[in-house]
Symmetry: C2
Subunit: 417 residues, 2 copies
């Protein structure tokens, strides 16, 4: 038997396969890895704006289309891409085969439009790989146990790719995209932001949930769970991007890996809520019923009788939130409610926080020096977030980036040992 | 148990589902039959010019795309249509479910781009019908035993529909199209052509092979084999169209059901071929190798040593034919070859010919009266075809139509008992 070849999974998003030229470039990247002696599995999304166009076609016929049929419709976008990529690879003289979610045995639950992967039949792909094929798999889609086509939700191709990498025990999962990696922060705001060479799953998860939009959150959870090295890199250049991996010892010295800013935020402060068991639960159950997704919650006891509850929501949900709160406030004995949508959240993220004291203080004193008022603070084990006035948010982010030296590669920061 | 409901299959071609408006109309036709108490299975093609667009996308990447990938690509067109139709039906307040070829268990052989149906899992569709759904099935496509997507060739949706009707023992298979039925002849040439109420499978098969382009030939073979009544009708009006059925006794009185004209024809006459066994086979094997499809063949013995072989081919194949004949003629001792592409074939078709004498004579004397020279004649049991000068072909068709009264409904013709 020949030596076992390494497997690589490459994922190309919609913009990276939008035209015939781009499809040829993606095909070439697969061929390059194949020539290096690897077995190559490519995962592709629908071309360009195609998913949006199909959604528009559907809405014209039914403003509230059945989700099963939506999945049946949208899954065609990826199916078209993978067959076209296979044709391109064949035209370049290499063997290729495209597979849909069903053909690859990507079994999911039956929650249409946001299904979760239950199992993958790695044997089917391996058979094609061992026959010398580059295998191109339709991202974003699967099939449930009754052969209904399902989709994994927007950005689900990332999850398909990482899940395949896990099932195939791939060496790495390359995510080709239109940025060249994960940055310390948003370069549109902090001009000197630098690309990170490496970052941990947990840090990216915190950044993703704070709106940095790096990768589909579930793909990172998959990577973490199954130990898949994810390489976020540019489809335009051949340069190394950012590796997303498990936490490695050297990361602990890096106090702060990145900083984020979230502007599409609104805040609700319910003052003097009756301090009875179950009142907070009542409020949030009511909001859940109104399909409002609540972010950070702060509850403080003001007296034995009264507590203040405040929380943030996405600005898109602000109107629904207000309606829901106005209905519930009387039932929980709330004295008064304040609404704010002139706020933003500035956060720092880093696994180093776990073992270093003083990070919070560095952040707060930096904001104080800049005369930036902190409305409220929430933290997790590896994150500190401050709500500030929206008008001061970019200034806040910039000053934090400077003090934590997010304009420098990790090994050149003064505080890193 | 409730009384067993009748099943109807309705097929809508690409032009009948090209826009949202047309999809809604098709949906309404399904709902109309459903309201009449029938179980409805709809078969749909890809919308409008979509298949052509996908082929163009493929050609841009690979001028000779692998057929498996072509099927993977093209099958998405029908999948989109059926999910959209299901959405439209749901929006109108009725239950619907769309199924791909794979989901419907339409198993074919593995001859990509022109696969043949091997079996259909009627149980799956019946389950959905019995749950009160209108079932919309993607036409044109199937799946082979290794889960590769296959297609049945252009026009294959007709075959899908009739095959489903056979598997479901449907009451009838309605083929909705942009003409309102099968005509006695081409109304663009014989203005007074009339729509036939009924015609036999064999007659339509002869007409289809003579270029009348009524229906996909294999769909009619299926209908004949499994005794499915096919109703060709207009998607624009609600009017009755033409029923294609087994031969019924009354058809025997109808001497001639229809007449056709085929202009895209060329003729080759090989004179003085050595009269040795195997020489004709040599010629046609050579043509087959050149991928030329030969129509009618006439071989006549001129002497013990020599024979003449003449045959017709599609005009599209004329150049390839000439090249092939020039190569082979020396090897079969052929004295001379004449090529003609200024000819056309005029034919009459009717199961009544089987039991009536004099039909051929009526045709030939009509042409003689019109001073139309007959180059050659071929016949089948239910067809007589004459090769004539192209310039005289339309005149020939008109005079034949008049004498066989193809401008009158069947029961008003003077020769019909």
């Amino acid at each position: 038997m020949s030596k076992k070849k390494k497997i690589i999974v490459q994922k190309f998003g919609g913009t990276s396969v939008a035209t015939a030229e781009k499809i040829k470039k993606a095909a070439q990247r697969a061929i390059d890895e194949f020539k290096r002696g690897k077995q190559v599995v490519m995962v592709a999304s629908a071309r360009g704006k195609q998913t949006d166009e199909l959604i528009a076609d559907a809405m014209e016929l039914n403003p509230n289309p059945p989700k099963r049929e939506m999945d049946q419709l949208l899954s065609t976008g990826e199916q078209q891409t993978v067959s076209l990529v296979a044709m391109a690879i064949e035209a370049m003289g290499f063997k290729a085969i495209s597979l849909t979610g069903a053909q690859v045995g990507m079994v999911t639950d039956s929650v249409h439009t946001k299904a979760r992967i239950k199992s993958i039949d790695a044997g089917r792909i391996k058979k094609h790989l061992n026959a010398g094929n580059i295998v191109i798999v339709a991202g974003f889609q699967g099939i449930d146990e009754n052969e209904n086509i399902t989709t994994l939700g927007r950005g689900g191709s990332d999850t398909s790719a990482v899940a395949l990498a896990a099932a195939l025990k791939a060496d790495t999962c390359d995510i080709y995209t239109d940025v060249d990696g994960v940055y310390t922060t948003d370069p549109r705001i902090f001009k000197k932001a630098v690309k990170l060479e490496q970052i941990s799953y947990d840090e990216v998860l915190e950044m993703a949930s704070l709106g940095a939009g790096v990768l589909h959150g579930r793909s990172i959870e998959f990577g973490k769970k199954y130990d898949v090295t994810i390489h976020v890199r540019s489809s335009l250049s051949g340069k190394k991007g950012t590796l997303i991996t498990h936490e490695v010892p050297k990361m602990e010295g890096i106090l702060v890996s990145g900083a984020t800013i979230e502007k599409k935020l609104a805040k609700v402060s319910m003052i003097g809520v009756s301090n009875k068991p179950g009142n907070a639960a009542k409020v949030f159950a009511h909001l859940a019923k109104a399909k409002v997704s609540v972010n950070d919650i702060i509850q403080t006891e003001v007296s034995k009788q009264k507590a203040n509850i405040s929380f943030t929501v996405s600005k898109n949900d602000f109107n629904d939130t207000k309606k829901a709160v106005e209905k519930i406030k009387g039932k929980v004995g709330c004295d008064n409610v304040f609404y704010r949508d002139d706020i933003a959240e500035v956060s720092i993220i880093g696994v180093g926080m776990r073992t270093h004291y003083g990070v919070a203080n560095m952040m707060f004193s930096t904001l104080a020096k800049g005369k930036i008022n902190i409305d409220s603070i929430t933290t997790s084990e590896i994150r500190i977030s401050c709500i500030v006035d929206k008008g001061q948010a970019e200034k806040a982010l910039n000053s934090i980036c400077k003090v934590f030296e997010l304009d420098k590669p990790v090994n050149k920061r003064s505080y890193v040992k």
